[in-house]
Amino acid sequence: MDMILKAIWSQLVTLFEVLRHTFTKADTVEYPEEMPYLAPRYRGRIVLTRDPDGEERCVACNLCAVVCPVDCIALQKTEDDHGRWYPEFFRINFSRCIMCGMCEEACPTYAIQLTPDFEMCEYDRQNMVYEKEHLLISGQGKYHGYSFYNVSGKSIEDKDKGEARNEAPPVDVRSLLP
């Protein structure tokens, strides 16, 4: 008897809840006339960002490519005259990408970032292949102020040995002082 009363009460509550929702504001929006708000952490179109000095952040370490579960990232390392690594080409096949964000997690330099843009449909699948020129943006993306070479011991143009964070000036190996 107790159970039957509980069941009837549950049905009434459900009916009431449904009725109440009829008068609340709808969560769905009239996309595309109206654009929904997407949080910055939303995992959409992938971009390559630049460091605060405007240089490419990507150092072509290949970690994004290796972590990618669908293997849709391919790149080739090259280096400038001063030893700074950067990708000679950087290609993402978005027709394979599952927007999982593993590349962003693996990136040691904050270069690769997912953005809240998901509007990437194409009539021709070939157009889903993005090269570096399509991926590289002018700004720093979500993570501001980080420059990998400022914390790593490799010297590049305008940043000599010993000038990175937490580094002592290069030692004089010919010194015999204690």
Partner: protein, 882 residues
């Protein structure tokens, strides 16, 4: 065999091993840095700490270094004890204090022993907040990069470079935390084995510059087990590819051939595969003398049309057995020759007879066990470089004997070296000029090639007679040794030198059956093609004028003279790279390089070894034997040709068994050439088409051009790279060895084709004109293929003429004058270490004509300005300052 207890587990240890070796051999992971299986222990890094217990009642134990601990019966240790694990963790934490946080831009990343060991001990947080020590880097030449900040001061590099490889221009400098490993001043590393620093360094201080130019992580490289093509020793290598380019070569451990090390020609020379001189497709020369690109099918049809009547086939000692046999079958045995000069054929005939004789022919690793060595007219370091490294270990036998007598273990490296000081086992060198092994030689004689022969004849006489002379001294040295070894080879192009060396070995063997003889052949497959057919004579075959000649991967113009092919109407050349012979052919067919084709090669000790294709060649490029199969209409696979070789030549029976054929599977799977973590599969070719093509199929071998398949359980002859969970660097090799430094778990690869039973009767010496102009082989410069590797080509010396002051006076020239023969201009270098009346010139591209020149034909060049150092190339001596 003492039994020890590790964490209460009983382990059978090998007598004489140290604890670290025992642990690793038994699959127990202990981190280490300074220990190296080939270089022993010094106990410098303190990383391999374990707990040792004094007796069964001891429960506390004490921390000991496993690499410095001999194993004794019943000893108890613990690897997992809390104080040992925390000790190892804190050692890594300390080593990482100054590590520069640059793994993403480090060429070692992904195959770094330091990374592996850091993960193994579980260190993850840097607690120290102080400043990191930094260093400036040095320019070390075009092959090796330097990034000193990454150093963990394990001292492996100097121990390898100085103690093992005999180099003197890399050292530890500075004091306290300023210890710096490099040269006294920037410059090209002088040692021929400097490339091993890349593998010896546990982190990224010394990196492969040629790899860095087109860098790929180890996990992205598609690799295959290959045989080095740079000389006759047949060192085992891994060749690795990405995006259709050979990216790097790494050592492939072989317990009898190359051990843990390679020479720089082998390591960096394979990049010739990427040369712009590669022939991308078939071409037919039109009436105007220009090549028209045609499809491979059209070219093959055209060649088939020419195959009526007598066709001459010229094989090559740098082509595989399969390709040579395919050519031989196509043109018929009577019309085939192996493409060597008559002198080369005579020399390799001697090598074959010695291999077939009952003289003991050691493997390269066995060379390290001989206690007296006589080098007869062979420039080992330049001609068969890896052997020089073995000789350097052999002269240490006296020290190791001393250590054994004193009860010091062989792995106790610093102690053994302290004990031996400068004591060295005897090494006698007979050569016309200075030798790179002079620094460890007990006795050197500078003699013209003919005088070397007579010197050895005197030694043979002196073995029986008792008359004081130089020869008697050498003879008594050899007789006094427990195991004397005679090393000779083809670098002076003198059959008599090989013959007389064999005679000497035979004479010594009658007195001492442990005598060994090690003869170096010329090229990767010289011995193999000599076994197929060593009688066919190119000059004779072409003398009976022939309409059509097929040349297989052989530069006839340079080797046999350009006049030889002048009368040929249809010259069909099958080759991978442009050379004088290809550029005069009527039809050229694009052959695959060693990295793109399977092939069997026979090294100088008569070992047949299989080299696997690393990647599928682009476009119409096809393995030589497949082109020839198509011409013959029998379309045999590589294993088909291996069967034919065995059927045709009884001596080559081992060719079939030296590696599994294409039917081999591991639980139904092929062996994957790519790692299981290869990246970019759906993006690499997406710029061409987003629709991914099928992975190329491999019909020739049990390997697959994919990441799908078995990787770690492949036998050594098929294993495409060394990797084991937690061991991403090449240090993982111990996971595949029976025991540390022992044979592979799957056995020793390759098949030695000679059992050696016939009695050597002794060679009759032939009449040889006394050579006064002596070509010196150069490790960089004398090998047709590796000369085309971009970085090595910058290390080729400039033409020089080295002679003693007396010879210079007789030619009326002095140091740094110019000396000309035709349009070859050489810089005179006066060097009293050159045999009298001899002039030494480098065997480099452009000096071939000097082979037939006479001293009297050399002329002084007026107003000549010499380059500052002709032995060193005109290199830019620095790249970056930091």
């Amino acid at each position: 065999m003492p039994t020890i207890f590790v964490d209460d587990r009983a382990i059978e240890a090998k007598t004489g091993d140290n604890l670290l070796e025992v642990l690793l051999s038994n699959g127990i992971d202990v981190p280490y840095f300074c220990w190296h299986p080939a270089m022993g222990s010094v106990g410098a890094c303190r990383q391999c700490a374990v707990v040792g217990y004094a007796n069964p009642d001891d429960t506390r134990g004490r921390i000991i270094m496993s690499c410095m601990t001999p194993v004794t019966e019943g000893a108890r240790f613990s690897v997992e004890a809390e104080n040992a694990t925390s000790f190892r963790n804190s050692v890594v934490e300390n080593l990482m204090l100054n590590h520069p946080h640059d793994c993403p831009v480090c060429e070692e990343g992904g195959e770094c022993h330091l990374q592996d060991m850091t993960v193994m001990v579980g260190h993850s947080d840097r607690r120290y907040k102080g400043l990191k020590t930094t260093f400036r880097n040095q320019y070390l030449g075009p092959l090796i990069g330097h990034e000193m900040n990454r150093c963990i001061t394990c001292y492996r590099c100097v121990r390898y470079y100085q103690d093992y490889a005999g180099g003197d221009d890399l050292a530890a400098f500075g004091s306290r935390d300023r210890v710096f490993f490099g040269r006294a001043e920037p410059g090209v590393l002088d040692n021929e084995f400097s490339g091993n620093l890349v593998e010896v360094c546990p982190t990224g201080v010394f990196t492969d510059k040629t790899l860095s130019k087109h860098y790929s992580r180890k996990w992205d490289l598609q690799s295959a087990p290959t045989v080095c093509q740079a000389c006759s020793l047949g060192c085992n290598t891994y060749t690795s590819e990405r995006y259709g380019e050979v990216r790097r070569v790494h050592n492939r451990y072989h317990n009898e051939v190359n051990g843990y090390f390679l020479c720089d020609r082998g390591r960096f020379g394979a990049q010739h595969v990427n040369s712009p001189k590669r022939i991308p497709g078939a071409g037919i020369r039109n009436a105007g003398g220009l090549y028209e690109p045609v499809s491979i099918a059209d070219a093959l049809d055209k060649v088939k049309g020419l195959l009526t009547g007598k066709v001459i086939g010229i094989g090559s000692p740098r082509a595989s057995l399969e390709s040579n046999e395919a050519l031989r079958q196509l043109v018929g045995a009577d019309n085939y020759c192996n493409g060597m000069t008559s002198t080369e054929r005579e020399m390799h005939g001697v090598i074959l007879e010695v291999l077939a004789s009952n003289l003991s022919v050691p493997t390269m690793m066995e060379v390290e066990t001989f206690d007296a060595i006589l080098v007869v007219g062979e420039d080992v370091t330049n001609h068969a470089p890896r052997l020089a490294l073995s000789i350097r270990q052999a002269v240490r036998n006296i020290g190791q004997q001393l250590a054994a007598d004193t009860g010091i273990s062989q792995w106790h490296d610093a102690a053994v070296r302290e004990l031996e000081q400068d004591e060295k086992s005897p090494l006698v060198i007979l050569s016309p000029m200075t030798d790179r092994l002079d620094d460890i030689a007990s006795d050197t004689h500078r003699l013209a090639p003919n005088d070397i022969v007579s010197m050895v004849e005197q030694i043979i006489e002196a073995i029986d007679e008792d008359k004081p002379s130089d020869a008697k001294d050498i003879a008594s040295t050899l007789l006094a040794a427990k195991r004397p070894l005679i090393i000779s080879g083809t670098s002076l192009s003198s059959p008599n030198i090989l013959k007389v060396s064999a005679n000497l070995a035979a004479a010594l063997a009658r007195k001492n059956p442990s005598t060994g003889i090690f003869l170096c052949a010329s090229e990767v497959n010289s011995v193999g093609v000599a076994m197929i057919d060593n009688t066919g004579n190119a000059e004779e075959l072409l003398g009976n004028r022939s309409e059509t000649v097929i040349v297989l991967e052989n530069d006839i113009d340079t080797r046999l003279g350009s006049a030889l092919l002048d009368e040929v109407r249809n010259l069909v050349v099958i080759d991978a790279m442009d050379n004088p012979t290809t550029s005069r052919s009527s039809i050229v067919l694009p052959a695959a390089s060693f990295a793109e084709a399977e092939g069997t090669f026979v090294n100088n000790e008569g070992r047949a070894q299989r080299s696997m294709a690393t990647f599928n060649p682009a476009g119409d490029i096809t393995p030589g034997y497949q082109l020839l199969s198509a011409l013959g209409g029998d379309h045999l696979s590589a294993s088909g040709w291996q069967q034919k070789l065995t059927a045709e030549h009884a001596s080559l029976a081992g060719v079939v068994t030296c590696a599994p054929d294409e039917q081999f599977r591991i639980e139904g799977s092929r062996i994957a050439r790519m790692t299981h973590r290869a990246s970019g599969r759906t993006a690499m070719l997406a710029d061409v088409s987003v629709h991914e093509p099928q992975q190329p199929l491999d019909t020739e071998s049990p390997l697959a051009f994919t990441m799908e398949g078995n990787q770690t359980r492949a036998p050594a002859s098929l294993r495409p790279y060394t990797w084991s969970p937690g061991w991403n660097s090449n240090q993982s090799i111990h996971k595949f060895q029976d025991e540390v430094g022992g044979p592979d778990k799957s056995g020793t690869t390759g098949t030695r084709l000679f059992t050696g039973s016939t009695e050597l009767t002794g060679f009759e010496l032939s009449e040889e004109a006394s050579a006064n102009l002596i070509g010196q082989v150069h490790i960089f410069g004398s090998d047709e293929l590796s000369n085309e590797a971009a970085e090595l080509s910058t290390l080729i010396p400039q033409p020089y003429a080295r002679m003693s002051s007396a010879t210079a006076a007789s030619l009326e020239v002095s140091h740094h004058d110019g000396l000309a023969f035709g349009d070859i201009i050489m810089t005179v270098l006066v060097d009293d270490e050159v045999a009298e009346r001899c002039v030494v010139y480098p065997m480099i591209p452009g000096t071939e004509a000097l082979g037939s020149a006479q001293l009297s034909e050399l002329q002084k060049v007026a107003g000549y300005t010499s380059p500052s150092d002709p032995l060193r190339p005109s290199l830019i001596t620095t790249d970056r300052t930091s």
